[in-house]
Subunit: 407 residues, 2 copies
Amino acid sequence: MGNIIVGQSGGPTAVINSSLAGVFKSGKENGLKVYGMINGIQGLLEERYVELNKQIETDLDIELLKRTPSAYLGSCRFKLPNMEEDEQIYEKIFSILDKINVDKFFYIGGNDSMDTIKKLHTYGTAKNKNIQFIGVPKTIDNDLAVTDHTPGFGSACKYIATTVKEIIKDATVYDAKNITIIEIMGRNAGWLTGAAAITKSEDCSGVDLIYLPEVVFDIEKFVSKVRKLQKTKKSLVIAISEGIKNKNGVNICELEEENTLLDCFGHKSLSGTANNLARILHRKLGCKTRAIELNTTQRCASHFMSEVDINESFLAGAYAVSIALNGENGKVVIFERTSNSPYNIVMKSHNVYDIANVEKKVPLEWIDTENGTVSKELIEYIKPLIQGEVYPIMVDGLPKHLKLERQ
Amino acid sequence: MGNIIVGQSGGPTAVINSSLAGVFKSGKENGLKVYGMINGIQGLLEERYVELNKQIETDLDIELLKRTPSAYLGSCRFKLPNMEEDEQIYEKIFSILDKINVDKFFYIGGNDSMDTIKKLHTYGTAKNKNIQFIGVPKTIDNDLAVTDHTPGFGSACKYIATTVKEIIKDATVYDAKNITIIEIMGRNAGWLTGAAAITKSEDCSGVDLIYLPEVVFDIEKFVSKVRKLQKTKKSLVIAISEGIKNKNGVNICELEEENTLLDCFGHKSLSGTANNLARILHRKLGCKTRAIELNTTQRCASHFMSEVDINESFLAGAYAVSIALNGENGKVVIFERTSNSPYNIVMKSHNVYDIANVEKKVPLEWIDTENGTVSKELIEYIKPLIQGEVYPIMVDGLPKHLKLERQ
């Protein structure tokens, strides 16, 4: 039996290292040497990798790794060319893997990263290579096809919903008309913005309006909706996806007539979607408006993770090793939800060709843009994924993370 | 013995309700009826108040209140006129207080709010009124005079340092030149930005540069400093206070030649300080830059509070009641640090006239702008304040908050 190698790719998440821990621990328990690519496939091409068995030595190291945000091994955004375009790059990768006797290759990432698995598998199969390629899903965006949801999504939702709930408390503190617009990640898929909807509960009025990028955003209707709501409620909190677009497909942050800012040299300079909407509302309604962009913290906040998510992420890594040991190749670990109440999933493997480069969006019937709301189905879909908490291991008042020591 | 009333004023914090809980619990234990002003002095003037004994009924309610961010009673930004300018408003306040038989008045707030205590005390004394006025300090900005630090500062520091540590992990994940600028609250005082400096530890390289508003910010020196650092480190993370200014006292976000954006109608539109610096660095150095504004979450994130801070905030509220019961008037609760290692404070009361409207800044000898660092003293000052964690009471995956029921 050969060694295994694992890499991380694309945007980081709070739990991508939990999947790494799952691959490592399972590999180690099966007596295998586990290599880690530094900066994914891009680093591998430069022969940058580490022996993880020398880095992650104790059970405490594994627990720390699970709680360390962002990609422990470093990441990359690197798209392999098609094998017809450049066969050399494939030869190079396979020869490097041969050199360290790797016959199982795991890649933790989103749909772009699954393209890497697909292409390596295609090449390997065409050339009768003896290396298995397995994808482990990861993305806060939850836009991966086939799987019920993706590791990373639950923790991002928990962080977003918690933060939105806190912002609502903050926004409603003064006895004066005001509007807060919260911008949440999601260029084409509104899954994360859906998390803002789960704040509505006994102790929270929730967001007043919510807009996802799957449906055309109509500014005129939006403004009149806000005007109407203001008659009965002084403080309004609105959640929007960064990617909302008008009927011509133009992103709201790019709307010429409304937003384009020119710097003093006349160059275009775009401000964010929430900023732009806040500016429009201020001009049209006159009241105090403010924009809050949740930005990077959505994907790297690991001080308040979902227990369901971190456990599933770990198990997805371990499951990937088990299907590889069963001889599978060109597969991605997926989740199938067998029951929502009580919540239950089963893990399966699925052909990478159905998953690479495919983007899964929120079903249109779950979005009510006329009323600026989402359906109960979306809320019930998200809620089980944010249950339970995993807190950091604290040292001297701050979360302790595991750090890669360069060899 | 009369009743007591308590109000909250100014910007919310994560722990302002912990002080409210302290006032309430101590008042109740002393057999007093406790009123709460809705929206501070502004609401009181409209006779909007609640009986807190009817709102906060159980010990669990008190624990929930301590963990509820933002001002439970609502807040205001309301500056009382001098008594010479408008005596009527004072008469009105005192007659409302008389009506509900209040003889002890507590106000939880920052230096603007202490101005309210000062003025009410001045008026009460001049008119021989039988009402005591006591201030309970609160501000994430830590800019209150006399006291060693303010309730709210420690939790904000813990949240900022944790988030900055996570952002550093996120920023260093790709193998490419990039600069991240994190904008932290603080227009005139850089205390909160100091929290970014405590991230440097065994497992974290910390921020590479840090700039506080107390010292002139020189853009030329800054750019050349960054250029030099880039020669040895690919990913740089820089923390700045929102209020940094150049030698002419112009805020960096307002610098005409560098930043002013014109919208398509030619109107000025300012972007944030970090955004502006990121744009300048991108133009001068050519590499990828991004700006992250931590914004409102700094003051309302209550899912990860400092145990030291939440306890001190609670005790400050209780201490306020005890000094009122001892007959004090026109006083503010302050903290005196008697030892840093082990950390220890004592609470005292201090004349409100020394505290109202005074702004305490970071000592200049704690700031090294030449090297873009802060001194060990600032780090050692902050560290004890972020120790220990208080987590929310979780219900269905989200923090539970206490909600005021309008009577």
